[in-house]
């Protein structure tokens, strides 16, 4: 999709033509890129809000929202207006400062992860040398926001939810990182654009299917989606760590959850499903569109899994993470290493 590259070049030329230096041009372009990422997130959040309800309704022999507008599209506006118009309640006895910043910081960490996602050829906000490492590091900071939300609410349900979330998210970061290591070994670099370029001939899901499987499960646990949504277990904890949030603060939690979902899908697509490479050489569809199609497929599987499976109990979840996923992902790394060594020996 050369149009966005040409647009960026055009803006850069215009800024330099105005007499500003190169670095300020880069800074302005990065800011515009960040704004673009925010718009991308917001767009997908509202699409996902509606899509989740209609897709779950299709699984459950219902219809989902269909009163407002064709296919229920007006439901999005109704939800947004309703959320913005609600009273902002801060519970008595809650730690006011921590309570207020918890939802904002969660959304901020979700947003930060978008800095290294390659939307297309050359379309990455910052092509860091440590691309995937940066993403993993940012993913860890979400834990703190959830703990803040749970602890500051002065509510026992929220406290239990927050504690569960910390245990779960910390435990599942380890298999997530290990599963990504296999891809990094095959590529030889942490840079996102290198990883995508290395998949020109064969997507990494083929040699690393076990790692993809582990990554999918660990990612579902990282973003607190079912079947790992114990921190917000509606049946026991009635919304867990965000039970006391209302209005725009609650909306920020929801937006952060969906933004995380899209970010994690984007990483899965970049590392395992070929990024913006076209499958079967169908290059007449631009890379950006392929990237979106693959993300939507991953999002659909997240929704599918959520509405099919029951929820795991916290101790089963910890056992599964520590006693099954970590050994499997470690074994994957060992096998990948041996495979690379043997390949190099064979091809000389």
């Amino acid at each position: 999709m050369q149009i966005l590259i040409n647009l960026a070049d055009g803006i850069r030329g215009w800024i330099i033509g105005m007499g500003l230096s190169d670095t300020s041009a880069e800074m302005i372009l990065t800011a515009i890129g960040a704004l673009g990422a925010v718009i991308f997130i917001l767009l997908h959040v509202i699409i996902l809000l509606l899509a989740e309800r209609r897709v779950s309704a299709a699984f459950q022999l219902r219809r989902g929202p269909n009163r407002l507008g064709p296919l229920g599209i007006g439901q999005v506006f109704a939800d947004v207006v309703k959320t913005l118009a609600k009273e902002d309640i801060i519970p008595a006895g809650a730690d006011k400062f921590v309570f207020k910043i918890a939802s904002t910081t969660l959304f901020a960490t979700a947003l930060l992860a978008y800095a290294v996602i390659p939307f297309g050829d050359g379309m990455i906000i910052q092509n860091l040398n440590i691309g995937i490492f940066y993403f993993i590091a940012i993913g860890s900071t979400a834990t703190l926001s959830i703990l803040m939300g749970g602890f500051a609410s002065n509510n026992k349900y929220a406290l239990i939810g927050g504690m569960r979330a910390v245990a779960q998210m910390i435990s599942y970061e380890v298999p997530m990182v290990f599963s990504l290591l296999g891809v990094v070994m095959l590529t030889g670099s942490l840079k996102m654009s290198d990883i995508v370029m290395a998949q020109k001939d064969m997507w990494f899901i083929v040699p690393q299917f076990i790692a993809f499987f582990v990554y999918y499960i660990a990612a579902t646990a990282e973003i607190n989606r079912a079947p790992f949504d114990l921190a917000e277990g509606e049946q026991e904890l009635i919304a867990g760590y965000f039970i006391e949030y209302s209005g725009i603060r609650w909306a920020l939690f929801m937006m952060a959850e969906y933004a995380n979902m899209v970010a994690v899908s984007a990483i899965a697509v970049t590392l395992f499903l070929g990024g913006w490479n076209a499958p079967f050489g169908l290059t007449f569809i631009p890379g950006f569109v392929w990237f979106l199609i693959k993300i939507y497929l991953m999002l659909f599987t997240f929704l599918w899994v959520r509405w099919t499976f029951p929820r795991l109990r916290i101790d089963h979840l910890m056992h599964f993470g520590w006693k099954f996923l970590i050994p499997v992902s470690l074994a994957n790394i060992v096998v990948t290493g041996i495979g690379i060594y043997v390949y190099r020996m064979i091809t000389g």
Partner: protein, 367 residues
Amino acid sequence: MLKTQELALNMGPVHPSTHGVYRCVLTLDGEYIQKAVNHIGYLHRGLEKLAESRTYNQFIPYTDRLDYCSGLANELAYVMAVEKLLGIEEEIPERAQYLRVICAELQRLASHGICVGSFALDIAGSTGFFYSFRERDRVLELITRIGGNRLTPNYMRMGGVAWDLDEDFFKELKQLMDEFPAYLDEYDGLLTGNEILQTRSIGVAPVSKEMALSYGFTGPNLRACGVDSDLRRDEPYGIYDRFKFDVPVCKNGDTFDRFCMRIREMRESVKIIQQALKDIPEGPVMAKVPKVIKPPVGEVFHRIENAKGHLGFHLVSDGSTKPYRTRIYSPTFVMLGAFPEMAKGTHIMDAVLILASIDIVLGEVDR
């Protein structure tokens, strides 16, 4: 050393997973329950006191609202108790008896449908909830044709049933019964065979035979512990001795067994209804009963095998048109008393499941 403290958590009367307005105060050590205390009575409507100022016929709609998931079965228990008091059990026409059996088994299907569905909902596989309610909706439509109301049909009368049912009803009933076993296989595939559900419910809160009998468990919860007891077979009421059906019994008495019992019993109910549809004769549906029911002085206790357990009515009559005392023996009230012991030591997520597997209905617990 870190100082730890026990947390007192209130699963309040308003909670998405207590089946109705029921309050439980849990004392937690981390997330494991040390003590659970039941608080009931939020739905107490004084039905037994109201019965003292209603005639026998006027009380039938009140019994609908006891276990509101199976209205016709409650009516059946009450009506049979009054008939026992009047001494007219032998005069009830054949067609009415068959219709009563069909109604009772249809209600069993509806009630177990709720248990299966809310179990799925509490374990967060909410798709299973919608699947089982799809079938329950078809059963409720049939009940609407019977009595005009989905949950409170008010159909049974002393001496028979209120009116006859037409050909269309039987045709639809037959069609639903032919399709039902396939739906039950669907539940088995989606819920019973699901590994997450099995991991979460096998071995959770096992109830031994001795504990079940000492607490007074009845119905599917008792059969799940391994005690082979079913009133329809052991002390048949009505014409239940003419039907051939199995009584499923499980071994362990844990949450998974209690859940599986419901699906297995639904299969048996389908068989009973199919047999009843084959054999139902023509004839009147109401015996010759006096307009004003004045039973002789005496008392009677009659119980039936409801979907939840033994539902019993103890009536004391003083010779007038209104009963002197109506006492309702509700099975879930008794079984809820065992919940604190069952929940002790389990995880808070398991407590929700245990409550769902006992299958309480607050209308019956509180009366």
